[in-house]
Each structure stands twice: as C-alpha cells, then as structure tokens.
Amino acid sequence: MLRQFINRINGFYKKYPSFFYLYCVVFLLYFFQIITKIEITPLGYFSLYSQPMHPQTAYEQILPFNLKTNLPINIYESNGGAFLPLEILPTRLEILGNKKRDVEIENLRGKMGYSASSIEIKSQEAFKKWYYNYCISTNVKLPEFQYFELRKCYFKNGNLMSSEPLKIQYVD
C-alpha cells in the first residue's frame, strides 16, 4: 500500500511538476501553522466548544441595553445574519481592549505602516457611538442614545439574572 502511495506521488510529480511544488508549499504552510500556532489556514475551524463545558450558574453575553426599560435590546430582530457581527463586535472590544498592550509590537506595527494598535478608538464612548449607528443600519430598534449602553448580561433558563456595564481596561 505504501509502495502504491509512493508510486502515485511519483506519477503525479512526473505529470504535474509545478503542481507538485505548489502542493509542497501548501502543506509546508499548514505544517508551519501547526508548529507556530498561527492562524493562516482554517485548521481547527468548527472546533469551537471542543473543551468540556461544565454547568454554569449563569450564561453571559454582551448586549446593547435600554436603560429606560432596564432590559437588553433584541439584536436578533436585525436584518438577516446581522446579529452575528452585533454579537461579535462588543465581545472583540472586550477581548482586544482588555489585552495588555505590547508597546514594542505596537511600535513595530507602526513602523511597518500599519495602525499601531488593534483598536483605533481612544475611548469606550467612541465605540458605543459607532455601535449605536451600526445597530440602526442593521434595523435594530433602539432607544435614544442617552438610554443606550453596552452591558454584560447574565442569563439562566431564559431569565435575565443580572447585568453590569462593559468595562474596558486599556482603551480609556
């Protein structure tokens, strides 16, 4: 079987030498990714929730919040699949904004012509304003801006147990 496999590779190399090298480059790229644990290829995609998840006291999600009614805003009424970016964006703000900044990396990024930081805002308020407008553009029903806030909500069995304002450590 191994001999058959080697013969097939050999035959492939003779018939398509340039493709053979392309295959090698692609496989090296994948191998490089596994070794260095970087994200070039989609390896491991769909492996979300691979780890065992133990029973939780409550399940958290960052949502826009109506301070007038003291209730989260329904982002699932948005157009098509727009609820996904509406879920992702504040979560990414929390992750990137609370990640301690590496000044050396940021300087290097700046020298290479990129934005020095992953987040181009100076305050959490600026993100809130942008997110408010993005919600409007995706057809989410919102209160006036002064009653709008991003909050970390804790749910259990379909009930809102508690909520707290989203806190970003390294942006403000």
Partner: protein
C-alpha cells in the same frame, strides 16, 4: 463533455457566491457597513500584513463611498465571472477581490473568521487552464477534507465528549439571550429537552465529531466524495438549526467541490 460539466459546476458555485454576497450585504457585512468600525485587527497572518503593507485599507476605508464602490465592484465581478464563465481572467479578478473582502472584513470585525475559506477553496480550480484542472480540483478537495478532519480532531483531543452534560451546557450558553427574547421559541423547548436527556446532546456532539473525522477518507480516495459532500451539508444545516450560526453558506459551497470531484472523477487519473 466533462468541460461542459465544469462550466455547469462553475456557474453553480458562482451562483451560490452571488447569493452569499447579497445575503452578506443584507446582513450588515458589506464593507460600507463596517468601513469606520474601530478595529484594525491584523491577526497572525501573512495576507493581512501584505494587504496592510500595500496600504489598501486606507484606500478602501477612506470614506463610506470608497467602501461602497468596493462592494459594488465585488458584486459586479461575481456577475462578470458568471456571464463570462469560460474566461479565467474574470474568475481570477473575482478571487482577488474576494480575498481582499475577506481580509478587510475580518480586520474591521476584529476577528479572524474562516468561513469565507469555503469560497476560496471552491473557486481555486477555476483559476487554472483545462490541462491543470485535475490537480487543482484535487488540491481544493484535499484542503476541504483537511479543514473538516482537523475540526473533528481538535474536538477529539479537546475532550468535550468526555462530559455527558457538555453539549447541553454549550446549547444553553449559545442560546442564552435568544431564550430570553423568545421564551416560547422552538430552541428553548429543545434546550429543555436536552437538559432532561443529556445523552441525546452527547450523541449529537459525538456524531458531529465523527462526521468531521470521517473526512480522513478523502485523503486516500475520491470514491466517497458524494457522501462527504452530504456530510458538509448535514453538518452546516445542523450548525444553523442547533447553534444559530446563520452564515453557513460560504463553507457549504465546499460540498459542490466534492460533488464536482465525484461526478468528474471518471475523467481524472489521480484517483485511479
């Protein structure tokens, strides 16, 4: 004859891409929706460095209108590639714009999402001349099999399967907010069912893992490609229904590559 089939499959893929692009625009995922998002996420990826190094984000995200022009050109290139499907140049043009869209969208979402890879894999064979079509399609299907196999492999080593209640918890977590907004919805009823029948959830998780692991077969033979294609569709449809992951279209396109590989394998030598 098989060339005619290729044109049919190419148009099928391009039709799906056109639909996906329209759906993305409707879903607030056009670049003109996110052009001023406060992220400039680069991820650990050479393609981001290249795009940022060429200062393309500054050009595309200069204002709302430049981002809108990009979206229009992107959709226009899908139409051109569809109409002139025998001309490779339009397909390559589309491929480049799709890659740019993928990178620019991810950098503005602050998140390295991979689901658009399905489109890149599906379009890859069409960048080549007819004589190189066979190895290009083979590489494409191989990369699809690799993606799904590793997803299953990481599930296996992550040991999510070792806890009976794990999937029920994952389900509660995924639907925490939707259960609040839609207390009488089907998903909350299914969630309660899973809480009372933990082994059903466990079987769903393990079933998905084995479904993904079965893509290892694709490394050795093309004979099972049509089944693997059905597996992709089954996996993404259940992902949509169970996990509410609505943007499944772009990866599901990969199933067309496997159907194509199955139907055209008689003309190919690699599988023999």
């Amino acid at each position: 004859m098989w060339i005619k089939n290729i044109v049919f499959f190419k148009r099928l893929i391009l039709g799906f891409i056109a639909f996906a692009m329209l759906w993305f625009q409707f879903s607030g995922l056009g670049l003109h929706h996110v052009w001023n998002a406060p992220f400039s996420f680069l991820s650990n990826d050479i393609s981001y460095f290249l795009v940022y190094g060429l200062q393309l984000p500054k050009l595309v995200f200069y204002n709302f209108y430049t981002a809108m022009v990009f979206d229009v050109v992107l959709f226009g290139s899908v139409i051109l590639a569809f109409v002139f499907s025998k001309n490779r140049a339009y397909t390559i043009f589309l491929g480049v714009f799709l890659l740019l869209y993928h990178i620019l969208l991810n950098s503005k979402l602050g998140y390295h999402a991979h689901h658009l890879f399905g489109i890149h894999f599906a379009l890859f064979p069409f960048y080549f001349k007819e004589k190189s079509y066979e190895p290009a399609l083979y590489l494409s299907r191989f990369l699809i099999c690799l993606t799904y196999f590793f997803a299953g492999f990481f599930k296996l080593i992550g040991k999510g399967w070792s806890l009976l209640s794990s999937f029920s918890e994952i389900y509660q977590n995924q639907h925490a907010a939707t259960h609040f907004f839609y207390p009488n919805g089907l998903s909350i009823q299914f969630g309660s069912f899973l809480q009372n029948h933990l082994y059903i959830g466990w079987m769903l998780f393990v079933g998905a893992m084995f479904l993904q692991l079965s893509f290892v077969i694709g490394f050795f033979t093309q004979k099972w490609d049509k089944y693997l294609a059905f597996f992709i569709i089954a996996f993404h449809l259940s992902d949509w229904f169970l996990m509410n992951l609505g943007i499944f279209i772009t990866m599901t396109i990969g199933s067309i590559v496997l159907f194509m590989s199955h139907f055209l394998s008689k003309n190919f030598l690699i599988s023999k």
